[in-house]
Amino acid sequence: MSKRSPNDLIDTKYLIKQVEKELESSSRRLFGKQILSLGSLSLLSGCALTDGDSAEKMLVSVSRWNDRVQAFLFDPNKLAPTYPESMITKPFPFNAYYGEDEIRDVDGTRYKLELGGLIRERKPWTLSQLAMLPQTSQVTRHICVEGWSAIGKWGGVRFSDFLKMVGADTTAKYVGFKCADDYYTSIDMPTALHQQTLLTLTFADRILPREYGFPMKLRIPTKLGFKNPKHITEIYVTNDYPGGYWEDQGYNWFGGA
């Protein structure tokens, strides 16, 4: 029998959440059919209230409209709040589209960050080359699309400095990311150039742990958690909408906070 760790005692909220996650992943696969699952209500009426397909199309086009509204609301000079280190959330929650036992191991010595798309100098970067660039750090709130939030300290290279240094076309629309855990996502250029957006190499003043995205993640305190890719292996600049792992399943693409 395994002994209960103090963590198990924290609260039933955690347990509820885990169960919910299990259910979640199965209903996600039914997306489309289930989008207007009024459960018992649609059973009562004996038929679907709305044709799933056209409801889904309508919802997705409103979501595109919400992208534009958020791009309009986004103020490049507005900073996400920062906090004293005493407010850092401990332990900081792990979250990904897979469980904690499936975290990818990336070999830091052989790691290469590839650059692609509308970037002038596309030579790959090693971890030590990245570590030699000027570093900065900040304590910010990570807000998850699920609703929870947690405060952490991330350090690394200001992403706008990096993009300018490698000659990225900063008039392009999107920056896309591919990750070692097969995750992928993309963000708008104004957010990429925001001064708090960091190519992150450290968490809590230590080398970025594997559960938080070793060797490198992008930290964007002005966006929701799923817009902060971990284990990044490729960064590319493009004008063609690149989508994302969650975004292609229905999460709002802009995902701003």
């Binding site: 609260d11 039933t12 909220k13 509820i16 959440k17 919910e20 259910l23 979640e24 209903s27 996600r28 039914l30 997306f31 059919k33 289930q34 989008i35 207007l36 699952s37 009024l38 459960g39 018992s40 209500l41 309508m58 919802l59 997705v60 409103v62 979501s63 919400n66 958020q70 609301l73 986004f74 103020d75 507005k78 900073l79 996400a80 709040p81 709130r141 807000i143 998850c144 699309v145 699920e146 609703g147 929870w148 939030s149 305190p221 002005t222 969650w246 399943q249 229905g250 999460y251 709002n252 701003g256 906070a257």
Partner: protein, 205 residues
């Protein structure tokens, strides 16, 4: 006697609002379930969206319906003077008398064109409740872009709690509201049909 029933815009706004509130509440419960604030979940069968992403899509689509409709209602209602004449004045003393009579089931409903003090208070407070739901929702959705709203709500996490209780208030209102309509069904006709239609229907009987 001149009966002045609900103008057409009030009837349309009312039903659009009812649909918007239904979508907001049931999709909101789905979103809540992804990361509950308290030690309970809403039964999945009374939520919409199927999964978190679907719930969010519904919530952020229906919010436009809710907000635009509320703005139209408030604008026309205030500018036309209907807000004043229907909901004001509202005196505490009268509210208490009407409330006591209502609880003793002694409140007169002979003139359904006139709102009693309990109705006035209930309708005004649910309007305030919807307003608080909207601004706390904005604080949760755009906590970085609206720092003032965020601080007004006591920070991001607290804005979620405010949002939750605004929902709870609205849902409580709706339950009592539906009970009242069931008790005085004549009012339902006035919210559905024009004066002409109501009089015709009355004559047909």
């Amino acid at each position: 006697m001149q009966i002045s029933l609900h103008p057409r815009y009030v009837r349309i706004c009312h039903w659009v609002n009812a649909l918007a509130i239904f979508l907001m509440v049931t999709s909101g419960w789905r979103i809540y379930n992804a990361s509950p604030i308290f030690n309970f979940l809403f039964p999945k069968s009374i939520t919409i969206g199927g999964w978190l992403g679907g719930g969010i899509l519904w919530h952020f689509a229906a919010m436009w319906m809710l907000v635009i409709n509320a703005l139209i209602y408030l604008m026309v209602n205030i500018l036309s003077g209907r807000m004043q004449s229907k909901f004001l004045p509202l005196y505490p003393k009268q509210l208490f008398t009407d409330l006591r009579n209502a609880l003793l089931l002694k409140l007169q409903h002979s003139d359904i064109t006139h709102y009693n003090a309990v109705q006035k208070a209930a309708y005004l407070s649910v309007m305030l409740g919807i307003f608080i739901a909207i601004i706390s929702g904005l604080a949760v959705w755009k906590s970085v872009q609206f720092p003032l709203l965020r601080e007004l709500m006591g920070g991001y996490d607290n804005a979620r709690v405010v949002h939750f209780f605004a929902m709870t208030f609205i849902v409580s209102f709706v339950m009592i509201h539906l009970l009242m309509v069931a008790l005085v069904p004549a009012t339902l006709k006035t919210m559905l049909f024009s004066r002409k239609q109501v009089i015709q229907q009355g004559a047909d009987k």
